[in-house]
């Protein structure tokens, strides 16, 4: 899988009317950078720098990549593994998210995937795991059982960490920082729907961003399902929820977001939530924290005075 990913690392440059578009694949998603400039050299340079950064983060934190730091940490659970400052800062951030969500969001909940598999449409009546299976997996979950400091991290035996919930958004923010250092032209970075802009387009125009409807793949009455267009002038936008990963049991749809405290999926959550925030990683976490509130997702964001779109 890793080799296939890396073989797929091509950068395509396309000229549009007043901009260049750089497309590539990363983190199992189609990605795009748009720079509103006719300077081809600048576009190429941006493409090289941004893809290098995004792929670097992918290689470092992809838990499916045996060589990633994430995999090393997981495979050596029970013993300390040396970490760098970037990883330490991501762990600190994950800690904040854990605290702010009262433990609902936990990057050590990856072990639960042993009990659950979400394949969506192809397996509409997947059996739920037994409570015993869930409990067994849950015994390996618990942020408090992870010890880390600026030099090292130690997982309790059997535990796993998964940076998947924050990595893509983090890569968007990192890419934007590098883009801003290189150019003051308007730039948009989009990694599989999580995106951020450096500022408004030329002449103070907004970026028009389409948010994909979660049912877009269902092919049924596609005409009735319009993408939502959002005008973005600054900041970032991230979507949580996934059309392709869910279980339907007894007619109830369960999304792939798991409650790290109970080990069970969150019921009655919206299918997707899109949040706007100054930084992409904030938007992503807010969307995820909202989904974790289940039927109260919208209320949670409304009370926090956050701009969002929810689809049920």
């Amino acid at each position: 899988m890793n080799k296939a990913n890396k073989a797929n690392r091509a950068i395509n440059l396309t000229k549009n009317k007043d901009s260049y578009s750089i497309s590539f694949n990363a983190m199992a998603s189609p990605c795009e950078v748009i720079v509103q400039s006719n300077d081809k050299q600048l576009a190429q340079k941006l493409g090289n720098i941004i893809t290098a950064e995004v792929w670097r983060i992918e290689d470092k934190y992809n838990r499916y990549d045996q060589n990633s730091l994430c995999s090393v940490i997981n495979s050596k659970a029970g013993q300390p593994v040396a970490i760098d400052e970037e990883t330490y800062l991501l762990l600190i951030f994950a800690d904040h998210c854990y605290q702010l969500s009262n433990g609902l969001f936990d990057i050590s909940s990856g072990a639960l995937r042993k009990a659950w598999s979400f394949h969506g449409g192809s397996a509409k009546n997947t059996q739920f795991p037994s409570q015993a299976q869930v409990s067994a997996a849950l015994s390996n979950v618990g942020w408090n059982n992870i010890k880390f400091d600026e030099q090292k991290i130690t997982l309790a035996k059997g535990m796993e960490v998964d940076f998947g919930g924050i990595c893509k958004e983090y890569a968007v923010d990192r890419a934007l920082i590098l883009a801003k250092q290189l150019s003051d032209k308007p730039i948009l970075v989009n990694l599989g729907g999580d995106l951020a802009v450096t500022g408004s387009r030329l002449n103070d125009e907004t970026w028009q961003v389409a948010i994909e409807h979660p049912d877009i793949d269902s092919a049924l009455n596609r005409d009735a399902i319009a993408d939502m267009i959002v005008s973005l002038k600054s900041g970032a936008l991230a979507t949580s929820g996934d059309a392709r990963r869910f279980i339907i049991k007894d007619g109830v749809r369960y999304g792939h977001i798991l409650n790290a405290k109970t080990g069970w999926p969150i019921a009655k959550a919206p299918r997707s939530i899109t949040v706007v925030a100054p930084q992409c990683i904030q938007a992503g976490i807010l969307a995820t924290l909202a989904l974790l509130q289940g039927c109260n997702a919208e209320q949670f964001l409304t009370e926090q005075d956050i701009k969002f779109w929810a689809r049920r």
Binding site: I92, F93, S200, K233, G235, P278, I281, Q282, Q304, I306
Partner: protein
Amino acid sequence: MVAINTSGNNKMNNKMKTEKINIKAALTIATAALLGVSNLAQAESSTISGTEESAWEFDSAFLFYSEVDRVSAGEAIFNAKKTFANDEVLNLKLTIDALTGASANGAVAQPTVQTFTRPSGNGQYDVAPGDTPLDDTFHDTRVQLNGQWTQLIAPDYTASGGLHISKEYDYLSLGINGNIAVDFDRKNSTFSAGFSYFQDTFTPEGGIPKPFASMLVGDSNEPTWDEEFAKTRIGSEDDKSTADILLGFTQVINRRMLMQFNYSYSMVDGYLTDPFKILSVVDNNGVSQDYVYESRPDSRIKQSIYAQSLYHFDTTVLDVSYRYMWDDWEITSHTIDSRFIIPLGDSFGTESYLQPHFRFYQQSAADFYRPFIMDSDPLPAFASADYRIGEMTAFTVGLKYGLLVNNGHELSFRLEYYSQTSTDAGFEEPGVLKDVELYSSVDAIIAQVTYSF
């Protein structure tokens, strides 16, 4: 006039907003630590724009203030805020106060009945033996309008400008202000500089009294009364100007703590005397011989330093501030203000919080303050017996309860008790003054209801 702190209400409203965005604000700080960018202010502002201007947001507050046996005041505040496409913010605020009741006129209590002339010259009032003389003619309505425009003028530079107009029956105040704030150190620090200028005109009914002129007491229906009363007056109106400079520095200490430091320099010039205040002139036995109108210098330079710390515990927030003020009237004051915000979660069926409040205030007297004048002493250059510039200690304790009602609108109730005690700055008390209360206290209840929609 009794000063009612309306800016306090405004601050309260802002506080409520910050309570609502706890998670958002905490994430902003966490993100700043992770990315080394971002800032607090940016998170507050809407990043979305284009066709979507925000709707108007409204706050309304009703406040009731009542001093025991003295002034009662009602106040209504309407605040409207709109954020435009490029994050410009327009804020409009209307405040209406109605004040009624009695206020100490400055004279000392006596063992006998005292008669005073009303400030307008129309009629007299009597004060019973032993009572602190109160002028019971206070009633006034104030309408105040503030407009403020705030926008980003360059990356990291926010500018703001505003206009102020306030009108009472006998008072007109016009003001302008401007402020610029600069973010730096990856927006963990903000430096701001502001100025404001106010021009106030005072047209008290009955005119401006002549400093140290004796209060005319007698039959106001006599044909010569008006002519005699006019002799104690120097005009029908007077004015004063106030120029303030404010420097501020805000620093994010860590994800839990925010500190703010302010320095302010204020120059007031013009008519600073209170035309309604008098002093008793007493003999060696402490018996009133005369009442004279007070006299204050025509300029005052005030400075203050202020430090505030907001500390975010796991769920609660502690807000503590200290202010030290000093001026060239030799008044110094210390203010400690603290609030503790306790979110109650959903325990009452809706999101709610409690906010205990404690404030302590201590002030030294102005150099020309004196509770009375001895008739054997030469007349000083300036003198005032106004308790508000005398030595005093005050405290406020209060509790606020806020809850989210339908659609995330916020409703809050505040109840506070205010107690102010004037203290003796070391003046000798001759004769009968030993047996009366020279330094009275003021106790007040403040009740407020606020609704944001």
